[in-house]
Amino acid sequence: MKAAISPRSLFVALGLLLAFALWLSLALGPVSLPLGDTLQAVLRLAGVPLAADGLQQAELIVGQIRMPRTLLGLAVGAVLALCGVAMQGLFRNPLADPGLIGVSSGAALGAAVAIVGGAAMGGMPEVFAPYLLSLCAFLGGLVVTALVYRLGRHNGQTSVTTMLLAGIALNALAFACIGLFTYLADDATLRTLTFWNLGSLNGASYARLWPLLLVTLAVALWLPRRAQALNALLLGESEARHLGVAVERLKRELVFCTALGVGAAVAAAGMIGFIGLVVPHLVRLLVGPDHRVLLPASALAGASLLLLADLFARLILAPAELPIGIVTALIGAPFFLYLLLRGRT
């Protein structure tokens, strides 16, 4: 599993891939825009004074619909991949997933409370609904993760193994509660709940975007500062401690970053699986496990892959849309199995 390509060439390749994914994401849809128009529309949106001849439609489509959706995909993909790296480092296992510490199931439970509870209270005001849903999902993720972390602590030490097992138990509990809400829901609410659980970048708006962008930025700036410590952690907890790493603080930071990052991503776009699991793994196969390269490269790769998956989700059945969680799982699950079987030989 040593570096197959140099970090420099990987970053160049991933940069190009992301640029390509961004362009496709902005240009393609029910109305396909030529590259030139897309570019000019983006520049005008960014405040560059260009002549607006015949660009009104492109500007409207890009500005109002595709840009927020693209930014949402970019942030969700990047933050899920980053948190995947953090969890695989924390558990010192290349097959760990952010969902292990309960943040996804907690967020799903929060969303179920909001959707079913909101419907039971006779529906919320239209303007209020999306914020409440996102907020409940975010808080649900935080609460369950905090509980998992608390259960893993004993005598001032955090046992990663206990956290893993507590995560399994709380995941099961959260899904049981979601099941209960599902049972109580009426048909319309049930449909909302189901679709939310499948994940979608549909209905992205700038208003719902900025909290996620802030969180993504914070996680993307913070985790690379801990890249060396994460490398040392892979040697083992006591080895890392002997190398001067404040291991307890590092574990707390990793759990917090993941709760924040995945919580915000799920709150904004619903459940989107396998990005956090597969992307870091894939990048590791290409450049090796050094977190100084792995973290930024995973962010780029996660963003690109999610944008491409979203493109597939909205183009394959156009004008209808496939939930993106289905697409990532359809691609991710077989790939995961491939990694598993490949490691066995």
Binding site: M1, K2, Q228, N231, L235, G236, S238, E239, H242
Partner: protein
């Protein structure tokens, strides 16, 4: 200098280490011997702060061990555990480079030190290989190089603790590894090494500590500790002690 005063460790209600006094002298290799469960690894765990003492204390450079901040401590004290659970495919050079984490000596100097440490552990030829492709013994040598790099070149205020560094090595590398450890001590650092092989201990250690049931049964020069009576008492093994025909140190043969 790393010292233990009246050190006792509890595991549950059981005292697994009782009243150990110990000072690791600069430039010296102290060998710790004893049967399984005698408390050798417990002693190492207590000396590096992994286990907190029920009584007594450990001091590093005259200050209580727990008062040392992570990085400052890591520059003075390095620990090689019995086995490592690294399951990610770092290049061997990168694993050894992690030993330089507590230091800010710059890329060039670090690369030079990594090279020297790898050479000392006879693992230079592995530098470009992936860690996961290595055999158990090769991995052990890579980790030895890592902890050597952490303290390189080794000074009087630095301490290296090794838990059975030769357990997975072939006969040749058991000797080359302990020779490297000796040379490292001669550059100034204090070294404590847990060993099972009495003859390796006789040959490479300046002083020995024989543990039995958590207590120091005997301590001193190899010739004082490696006698038939204490070995019989601690290991329950009848031995003949002779003199190495060329080097003069004790040579232990089971009867």
């Amino acid at each position: 200098m790393l010292c233990a005063h009246k050190l006792s460790i509890l595991r549950g209600d059981k005292r697994v280490l009782v009243d150990i006094d110990l000072a690791l002298q600069p430039g010296e290799v102290l060998g710790v011997l004893g049967p399984n469960g005698a408390g050798k690894s417990t002693l190492l765990g207590a000396l590096c702060g992994e286990l907190s003492p029920a009584a007594g204390e450990v001091t590093l450079g005259g200050r209580p061990l727990q008062d040392w901040q992570g990085t400052a401590r890591a520059r003075r004290l390095a620990v090689l555990p019995q086995s490592s659970s690294l399951s990610f495919g770092f290049a061997v050079g990168d694993v050894v480079m992690m030993g330089r984490m507590p230091h800010g000596t710059g890329r060039e100097r670090d690369a030079q030190i990594v090279g020297e440490a790898l050479q000392a552990a006879d693992a230079e030829h592995l530098a470009e290989r992936s860690y996961l492709e290595l055999s158990g013994g090769e991995r052990q040598r890579v980790h030895l190089a890592r902890v050597l790099a952490q303290l390189w070149p080794g000074g009087a205020e630095q301490t290296l603790l090794l838990d059975e560094p030769t357990s997975m090595l072939d006969p040749l590398h058991q000797h080359t590894t302990l020779q490297a450890v000796r040379r490292f001590a001669e550059q100034g650092a204090a070294v404590m090494v847990i060993l099972h092989d009495l003859n390796l201990a006789a040959r490479y250690c300046d002083r020995l500590l024989l543990l039995n049931d958590g207590r120091a049964h005997a301590g001193g020069l190899p010739a004082e500790v490696l006698r038939a009576e204490p070995l019989q008492a601690v290991f329950g093994l009848e031995v003949l002690v002779q003199q190495h025909p060329e080097r003069g140190h004790p040579l232990i043969v089971a009867r």
